[in-house]
């Protein structure tokens, strides 16, 4: 039965993937903090919630503000760190994800900025903004949010 051939191919592929997954290395400690506007009431987020926000799948905060994610420039180390630890994809894979979203959903990727100063200014100015910045460079103009499960 030809269908069984397809099932065999699928199962073989799945088995290869399962074997590949056993060698996944442990993630090192993250060097960034999640930040939001000071008036945002949220204090704790989970990784899946962050994923949905930075993929523009969650649009509104509980207080009714639009979620406005801000990313770092694609070449920055903090972006790579965030992409691997939170989004579980490389920066390159996320760029491909946004091509897919642009075509199928009409969504555009988050705004990108190139410095901590710019990120902080943006988050401090936009009530629904959410971003991340190097842990030691976050000041009191924004609010830090803890992330459950982030190493």
């Amino acid at each position: 039965m030809p269908v069984w051939r397809a099932v065999r191919v699928w199962m073989t592929g799945a088995a290869v993937l399962a074997l590949a997954s056993t060698s996944a290395p442990a993630a090192p400690t993250s060097q960034f903090r999640i930040i939001v506007h000071r008036e945002n009431p949220v204090t704790l987020l989970t990784i899946p919630e962050l994923q949905r926000m930075f993929r523009k799948q969650t649009r509104m905060w509980p207080n009714g503000e639009s979620v406005v994610p801000v990313d770092w420039d694609a070449t920055s180390p903090v972006r790579e760190d965030f992409s691997e630890k939170v989004l579980r994809r490389s920066v390159r894979e996320m760029a491909e994800f946004w091509v897919q979203q642009s075509i199928t959903q009409g969504l555009t990727p988050p705004t990108t900025l190139r410095s901590t100063r710019a990120i902080l200014r943006f988050v401090a100015s936009v009530p629904g903004a959410i971003a991340y910045a190097p842990a030691g460079e976050v000041d009191a103009t924004v609010k830090k949010v803890d992330v459950k499960g982030l190493p």
Binding site: P2, V3, R5, A6, V9, W10, T12, G13, A14, V16, L17, A18, A20, S21, T22, A24, T46, I47, P48, E49, T58, R59, M60, S66, V68, V70, R88, R89, S90, R92, A95, E96, W98, V99, Q100, S102, I103, T104, Q105, G106, L107, T108, T111, L113, R114, S115, R117, A118, R121, F122, S125, V126, G128, A129, G149
Partner: protein, 416 residues
């Protein structure tokens, strides 16, 4: 010698300064020193001021970044308050050559223009598509076969009409109430994975699976409700999503009869399984469609289709597959594809696909194998090449003995 000493003595005596004159000089020097000290103090003060000014002043890069930040803030507010129209598109050029009756051809396969806008909870999305694929009606005439399978052998040649027509492939607006309920109305793609992601930038092969158009309808004009429920499970989440739709039947041009007739409906349940952080993706879905389908005689008959699909992704590996089975006028047709792929490097991917179609409705039974590579120097650009081998299957409903054939296809794709 004595005279010389006397002369020097006189000169020294003339040059010598009296004590009262020396005291005046010291006083002048002291005054000058005090003036210099005041000047130095002033200079130090100015230096401090300059240093402070310099510390406060920005470099050119910082000023540029600051301007960009403020522009982004304005854009963001504008996007939130007024919405912003996003314009994009894609371009696909394809070459195909094989040993079947389909001629070697260059195909200006797709030129799509995408236009979308978000306004808080509302979305609008539209896609205009131009296709210009060589059309060869003489092949059908020569074969004397009314079934459209030769046309379909040309891959997507039957997508729209082929000869440079522009069509609206998508035009819908959506209201996002919350995660559990969203409503989309208009012309939209069918909810199955391949149809949702059939764009040339998103597929690894240059051609669609052969069974695709013969089972689920590719698009629908109607109303769709969709949503999902998720629960965090460690670093990933477990989710269940649904899609329910009511639409016109699949009939060329939506004739009066179709519009008078009962509507088609369908549903989909998709499960997002927890990945535990090891997998990147583990999705499964089941689909059901009940509607009417047009025969070659332009009659509408009942059509029931169901299907299952899955996508798994771990590290550099991914496997995706879909299976669908339909029943019309007591005849069963089915098709599937399974496609494992590996990302060899950031910009290189390789894939293999096995697929089959068995359809008494269009008198076609075929298994096809494809293997190929993608070079993607940028996420927006893809250069694809693939070999394929198609093996017609012997079935009672296949009247002509058709021979296996093999071919080569390549495509260049640009998303903008």
């Amino acid at each position: 010698m004595t005279c010389r000493f006397r002369l020097v003595g006189v000169v020294v005596a003339l040059m010598a300064t009296p004590a009262w004159a020396q005291q005046d000089d010291v006083a002048r020097l002291r005054a000058e020193l005090q003036r210099q000290q005041v000047v130095i103090a002033e200079l130090l003060q100015r230096l401090d001021q300059l240093e402070k000014k310099q510390a406060g002043a920005a470099t050119r890069d910082e000023v540029t970044q600051e301007a960009e930040t403020q522009q982004e803030v304005v854009n963001s507010l504008r996007e939130s308050l007024l919405g912003r129209v996003n314009l994009g598109g894609y371009y696909n050029f394809r070459f195909a050559a094989d040993s079947s009756e389909t001629p070697v051809s260059f195909q200006q396969h797709h030129l799509g223009l995408l236009l979308s806008k978000q306004l808080r909870r509302f979305n609008f999305h539209m896609e205009l598509e131009l296709q210009n694929v060589p059309h060869h009606p003489e092949l059908r005439a020569e074969s004397g076969d009314e079934a459209p399978h030769l046309e379909e052998e040309a891959g997507e040649a039957s997508d729209i009409s082929g000869e440079g027509q522009v069509a609206v492939e998508n035009a819908w607006m959506e209201y996002n109430h919350n995660r559990f309920l969203n409503v989309r109305v208009g012309k939209q793609l069918a909810p199955q994975y391949w149809w949702q992601n059939h764009y040339p930038n998103l597929t690894l092969s240059t051609d669609q699976p052969i069974y695709l158009r013969e089972l689920f309808p590719p698009e629908l004009i109607g109303v769709m409700a969709h949503g999902n429920v998720t629960r965090a499970s460690g670093e990933s989440e477990f989710g269940i999503g649904y899609k329910l739709y009511l639409s016109n039947n699949q009939f060329e041009g939506n004739s009066q009869r179709d519009l008078r007739d009962a509507k088609s409906w369908g549903g989909r349940v998709q499960v997002k399984l927890p990945t535990g952080g090891a997998l990147k993706r583990f999705d499964m879905a089941a689909d059901l469609y009940r509607g009417r389908i047009a025969l070659v005689t332009q009659e509408l008959v009942d059509d029931h289709v169901y299907g299952v699909e899955s996508q798994v992704e771990i590290d550099r590996f991914q496997v995706q597959g879909e299976y669908a089975r339909g029943r019309t006028l007591g005849q069963t047709r089915y098709g599937y594809y399974v496609q494992p792929a590996v990302r060899m490097r950031d910009d290189w991917l390789a894939f293999y696909r096995v697929e089959q179609l068995d359809s008494p409705r269009i008198h076609r039974a075929e298994v096809r194998h494809l293997g190929g590579v993608n070079f993607r120097p940028y996420p927006q650009i893809a250069v694809k090449a693939e070999f394929y081998r198609a093996v017609p299957q012997a079935r009672p409903f296949v009247e002509h003995d058709e021979r296996p054939y093999r071919g080569f296809a390549a495509a260049a794709v640009f998303f903008f």
